[in-house]
């Protein structure tokens, strides 16, 4: 328990101490809100699809969560290469606890980042559909965060260095984000191949659940979103813990 707590705390301290990282990682979501939200808003409205900002914000929140979460997970590579991981691995504690502490810490940080983006969105004119659904929205944010921290940890556990990181960003994270329905509605008229790909993308369910609870727009339905997202998160936590326990340095 102490192990989990201290590793969680470490992630939080590291996050709050790197102000440049917090601010830097707000640039991209802000651009999405302004350029896409305001730029495409009128077209979206004319097509009769409603307010684009209301549609887009949950997607942008999800985006900032997955980037922060994945990055926290990938920090394992730094710890591996620059030694700190050794300090935890020779300590008389179980690797599972180390992994759980780190992952919870990374996920907490990612949710905080998501909340900052939500606040920014409120300033640009976004309005949640219901305050009662906010707690549920937090649950979805946390699930997305856990999923992607675990994914990052799993990837970092098998990678030797940061060389492969760019590959993962371009061929895994970007597709997961852009094909998830975060920036366009999964509706009639969208090519069916794209729709099938989107329904295989776990982030689609995260974005959809978040959109349902924040903006009242849903494609799969809240129950399906929750079920699929929790199952995949659980699966990735198991995989992440397993590969983390196999790290050799």
């Amino acid at each position: 328990m102490n192990t989990i707590y201290i590793l969680w705390l470490r992630q939080l301290k590291r996050y709050f101490r790197s102000k440049s990282r917090i601010i830097g990682s707000l640039g991209q979501p802000l651009l999405f809100l302004v350029a896409l939200g305001f730029g495409l808003g009128p077209v979206f409205q004319q097509a009769g699809a409603g307010n684009y900002l209301q549609f887009l914000v949950p997607g942008v929140i999800a985006m900032s969560i997955i980037f922060t979460a994945l990055f926290s997970g990938v920090e394992v590579i730094w710890d591996k290469q620059f030694g700190f991981l050794k300090e935890t691995l020779v300590a008389p504690v179980s690797r599972l606890h180390i992994m759980i502490g780190r992952t919870l810490g990374g996920a907490t940080v990612a949710v905080i980042q998501g909340l900052i983006v939500l606040t920014l969105a409120l300033l640009t004119g976004f309005r949640p559909v219901s305050l009662n659904l906010l707690p549920l929205a937090f649950v979805f944010m946390f699930l997305i965060a856990l999923l992607f921290t675990a994914l990052g940890t799993a990837i970092a556990s098998v990678l030797e260095d940061m060389q492969g990181f760019q590959l993962i960003m371009n061929f895994l994270v970007m597709p997961l984000f852009f094909l998830s329905g975060a920036i366009f509605p999964l509706q009639k008229g969208v090519p069916s191949l794209l729709l099938s790909v989107a329904s295989l993308d776990p982030l689609s369910y995260g974005v959809d659940g978040l959109r349902d609870t924040l903006s009242g727009i849903s494609h799969f339905g809240l129950h399906v979103d929750f079920l699929v997202l929790s199952l995949i998160t659980a699966l990735l936590l198991v995989i992440g813990s397993y590969v983390f326990s196999k790290i050799q340095i």
């Binding site: 101490r17 730094w78 300090e87 020779v90 260095d161």
Partner: protein, 269 residues
Amino acid sequence: MKKNEYIILVEHLTKKFGNLTAVDDISFNVKKAEIFAFLGPNGAGKSTTIKMLTTLLTPNSGTILIDGHNPVTEQDAVRHSFGIVFQDASLDDELTALENLQFHGILYNIPADVRRTRIEELLKFVELWDRRNNLVKTFSGGMKRRLEIARGLLHHPKIFFLDEPTLGLDPQTRNHIWSYIQNLNSRENITVFFTTHYMEEADKVAGQVAVIDHGKIVARGTPGALKKKTKSASLEDAFLSLTGHEIREEEATGRDHMRMGHGMWGGRR
């Protein structure tokens, strides 16, 4: 020969990585309260051996007993019994000196009040008490190494492993660090197991020396005995006559790539 007089017992230890036999059927013992130097050229098998002794790697064959416990089957008992200073810094740069020690204390389950007194005592011992609330990233190499020594001692280990503890430090700091370690050894009877490339350090502080090359132990004894055996004036000459003059190549590891590309990622660590 009584077995319990040895705190580290190694018999027929072998570790292979694919086709490469990094450690090849080595046996040696270290007595309680001894200062033991484990010497060898790059790639000779020193780090691999230390990793096996400290539960980070599992041997292919052979047995190890650390303070009577097997690192493969009794990991936690072994982990409680030793402290370690790794070859590369293993501190969290984004935390303060104090936080790094607190982190260690919590991982090793040291009660809060004991933790507080020991941390103060150790930080004073390595002369970093005044800097306790500074982030480690503001520390020099020597200060980091001293902090790591303090951290490695926090849970009162019986054995202290030091993997090239003085690498890259100036002579003043190196002398300082060895006087801490010798002081500790005589005061607390702690067993010290270290590696170094500075032969004069091993000559000065080590009671016993083992030389490993190509995964095999090629000589062991007191520094004086090794010099006598090889008819050398210094331990460095003895070392060279035992291991040859040929330069050893080590393959670049991921860590070397990281160091080269470090700046690219904003130098976060």
